[in-house]
């Protein structure tokens, strides 16, 4: 039987062991990929970055990346803030369902978002029918291009619209909970004070301090996700590359000695620049999220008020508009899976032929049930590893903060978020060449594709669990110990049982992200029996479509993935509380 001090030592050792293992899992593939690429190219990391900034192609890609990320972030905030405001300030029936629907975009696999938006902007599609031709850029868009000299403005607008769609829920999930739980007397009080005499002063002295950290936090994350966007850029702006698509084009032949050295140079230099930029963004995000959590805790601790006003017309229009925007691309994917072109007449008819074909599969295209099973295996494996690892990392950070070791805590937090700064292509490449080098037998290991999923999803678990663990009152655990409960029971009742909601939300998001993971899987999953649903969608879309069934088959696979993700997410929403301040 261990005494408390020994018990603590065991816990601390286990925590550090887990962190080291996670870092090894994350950094080793990256490290090996960098080592291999520097060896193949003969460049150092720094000289590769120098080359990056002297090459027109890479500079153009960087400019495009920064521009699309910045503008996506700006518009996401501009559109998301009013929606969050109205959601938080009024009483809505079925608020949980509304929140769930508005949050679905965030967990929708990016390949599905790309397909949905393609359908939205297609010639003859919905937007085209109201005179907005974003794809062929005729009409108003064409005029804009001519007048401004801007190349492909329609594609750029489509990309921004897709990013906004994707990231809108970030703004809402960070801001709306604070608004929804804010005590109305805070607003009433400030009206009687000089600092709140008019709307501008109230914005300055009440709303900005309360909401700015949340807005900033969501903006940072929006920037990070838009910056590293892959599927959307690949499909919506085919004439332009961001850093991620630039790397993806070269990824297949990178890291090979004396062969296509140029691709290795591109991947090395681009990934290092991306890592640098995103690391800065992540460090800043972590700081801002902590501030947001603090404010949110204060608000929820002191609030008793629940919104009781019915929404006015403007609120209704805004929220209904948001819901329509959220579901429209997904509905189009579904319709597209049963809408089949008759090659002879070029008319369309509705049928489940493509579903049947996709369900049965072939040697060229994995059957949907098989791909679905693979996806589920990966996501369950990811869950089994990422959830406890993420919890342990979060506990460690909270413990270090409690012991006043702020710098160490920040360092561990940064380490946990490194995967967000990494290109999925680099992660996949690193694992691939690492495995081939050291453990070639692992290449045929069925669970291998889950490894990048674990790397990519663990940071999200940390981002969700950490604020919740920070807000846990230690008395619950202390009381349990003082009641004489065993350490395991004290841990269960005093910690885990109280973290039920963030655990479920983490689990659902982990599974959703794993199901939709595309970039790293695309590099790794090249063995027929491993295809996940998201890779299957891209494979089918990449096939020559002489046969009119091919595209609906891709949409059938996409719709399957969509349903599964939506179900998982609905379950998570049932348990989500708005008072942990994680934003997720």
């Amino acid at each position: 039987m261990l005494n408390p001090s020994q018990h603590r030592n065991v816990i601390v050792s286990a925590q550090w062991g887990t962190i080291i293992a996670f870092c090894a899992l994350t950094i080793l593939p990256l490290g090996y990929a960098i080592f291999r690429l520097t060896d193949v190219t003969g460049m150092t990391v720094f000289s590769s970055m120098e080359k990056f900034f002297s090459d027109d192609d890479t500079l153009t890609a960087l400019e495009f990346t920064l521009l699309e990320a910045a503008i996506s972030t700006l518009f996401t905030l501009l559109i998301g803030l009013p929606i969050a405001w109205y959601l938080g300030r009024y009483k809505w029936r079925n608020i949980r369902m509304i929140r769930a629907i508005l949050s679905v975009p965030f967990v929708t696999p990016s390949i599905i978002v790309a397909m949905g938006f393609l359908m939205l902007i297609d010639p003859g599609g919905l937007l085209d029918s109201i005179g907005i031709d974003l794809r062929l850029e005729t009409g108003v868009i064409g005029d804009m291009a001519r007048v401004t000299g801007w190349e492909n403005p329609g594609h750029f607008i489509a990309l921004i619209a897709a990013h906004v769609w994707f990231n809108l829920s970030l703004v809402m999930r960070f801001i709306e909970p604070t608004l929804a739980t804010l005590d109305r007397t805070w607003e009433e009080q400030i009206r009687f004070l000089p600092a709140g005499r008019n709307k501008i002063l109230r914005i300055k002295n009440l709303w900005l301090p309360l909401l700015a950290p949340a807005a900033l936090c969501s903006a940072c994350l929006c920037f990070i996700f838009s910056f590293s966007s892959f599927a959307l850029v690949k499909w919506l702006t085919p004439n332009q590359d961001n850093l991620e698509t630039l790397m993806a084009k070269s990824g297949g032949s990178a890291g090979i000695y004396n062969y296509r050295i140029d691709t290795s140079e591109v991947v090395l230099s681009t990934s290092m620049v991306q890592l640098l930029i995103l690391s800065i963004a992540i460090i800043y995000t972590a700081r801002v999220q902590k501030k947001h959590s603090t404010i949110h805790s204060i608000v929820t601790e002191n609030s008793h008020q629940v919104a009781n006003k019915s929404p006015n017309k403007l609120a209704l229009i805004t929220v209904i508009g948001a819901i329509t925007y959220a579901v429209l691309p997904l509905i189009l994917v579904l319709i597209s899976s049963i809408r089949i072109r008759d090659a002879r007449s070029n008319d369309h008819y509705y049928s489940f032929e493509a579903w049947i074909e996709a369900w049965n599969g072939s040697y060229s295209a994995t059957a949907i049930p098989d791909a679905l099973t693979n996806s589920l295996i990966y996501c369950i494996t990811t869950l089994i590893v990422a959830l406890p690892v993420g919890y342990i990392i979060s506990s460690t950070i909270a413990r270090l903060e409690g012991e006043n070791k702020q710098n160490t805590a920040r360092f561990v937090e940064f380490l946990s978020m490194i995967p967000l700064a990494l290109s999925a292509v680099m992660i996949g490449l690193g694992i691939l060449i690492g495995v081939l080098k050291w453990a070639p037998d692992l290449f045929s290991w069925a669970i291998l594709p889950a490894v990048p999923h674990i790397i990519i999803t663990t940071p999200f678990v940390v981002r969700i669990m950490l604020p919740a663990i920070r807000s846990l009152e230690p008395q619950y655990h202390e009381q349990a110990m003082l009641l004489g409960l065993s350490p395991a029971k004290a841990w269960w009742h005093g910690r885990i049982a109280l973290l039920r909601a963030p655990i479920i939300v983490s689990a659902a998001l982990t599974m959703a992200f794993s199901l939709g993971e595309f970039g790293a899987s695309w590099i790794l999953v090249r063995s027929g029996s491993w295809d996940s649903l998201s890779v299957l969608v891209d494979q089918l879309m990449g096939r020559p479509k002489f046969d009119p069934l091919i595209q609906p088959m891709a949409m059938a696979a996409a719709a399957t993935l969509m349903f599964l993700t939506f179900i998982l997410f609905l379950i998570a929403e049932r348990f989500r509380h708005t008072d942990e301040g994680s934003g997720f």
């Binding site: 032949s253 090979i256 290449f443 990449g542 096939r543």
Partner: protein, 368 residues
Amino acid sequence: MQLKSIICSILIMSFSLAGCIGNETDFSDECENGTLDILTYDILALSTEMVDKFVTESGYCVNFIKEDDSGGILDKMMLTKENPVADLMIGLDNTYLQTALANNLLEETSYTSNSGYQNITQTALEPYSGSMAVPFDMGPVCLNYDERFVDDENVSTPTSLWNLTGEDWRGKLTFPSPITSSPGRAFLVATIDYFESDDDPDTDAFDWWKAIRDNDAIFTSGWTESYETHYTGGYGEYTDGYIGDAHLTVSYCQSPGVEAFYAGNYTHSTSITLPKTTFQQVEYTGIINGAQDVDAAEAFIEYLLSTEVNSNMPVNNLMYSVLEGQNLPETDGYKYHSDIPEENSDIEISRINQEMTSWLENWQSATD
């Protein structure tokens, strides 16, 4: 809440169990001889029925490792040279094969001693007839253009590649990059030969490519993007993501025939078959050096070259069969609308291997 949870759980379980009731493509009971791993691109030629038949007859199960295209196959073979991940490769073409041979990525196959090998046409054997790889399909790479555009806009049918650098075609051409696309690479080789064979000693292929770039041509990373997203002459206009800003692209001389075949004998796409503007692409299968199951690979090569399978190349893989006495089907205008090249480019495979790297560099400089 409880009811909702139960419903959700049932839904999730039924999704999970769906895998058990889906179409099973792994005949594990029949894999008494093991599993054959094949590295290929998305191969349409092998229908499920054909592969199932192979599995049943040979006792080998088949597992496909899929890459995007020919170049992807070579990349994977180079990357996994020390630890091959497959036994057999299907899909390297004659612009990539020599690189594979030079890097010892393949080993000898006994099929070249098989009687079936004698049934392969001379056209298919011309680029390479050694024992390290066996051709299994072929097709001439051509420029395709949209006849509607030519007719509607009163544009002259090109009689020289230089016509494409004129105002009529400004911004209306799309080419897949030869760096990442095998048809693109094949066409690049054709342009080398074309301009070496023309009457003008002062210009070469790269001057032409530069002029093409200056004429606002669209360069893509692959055939699919060029043909489907940009080209107006094909099925692309019916697919999502279509832009339709180009009326000429690189494809195969039989592509118009394929269009007609699927559309009931109608197409508005046709090919430019000027001498030396086309390149006979031959695709190969070969045993990967270090393969674990050579017997299985040999069995599959034999199967792939059997009349039963190979004769279906035009319908399943949209390419010509390599066997004597085989041709494109006449159904729905497939053969009728497929164009025959006047004279293919005839640069030797060894020269392709030697100079491809510098050609690609020059191409990149010309089109940057």
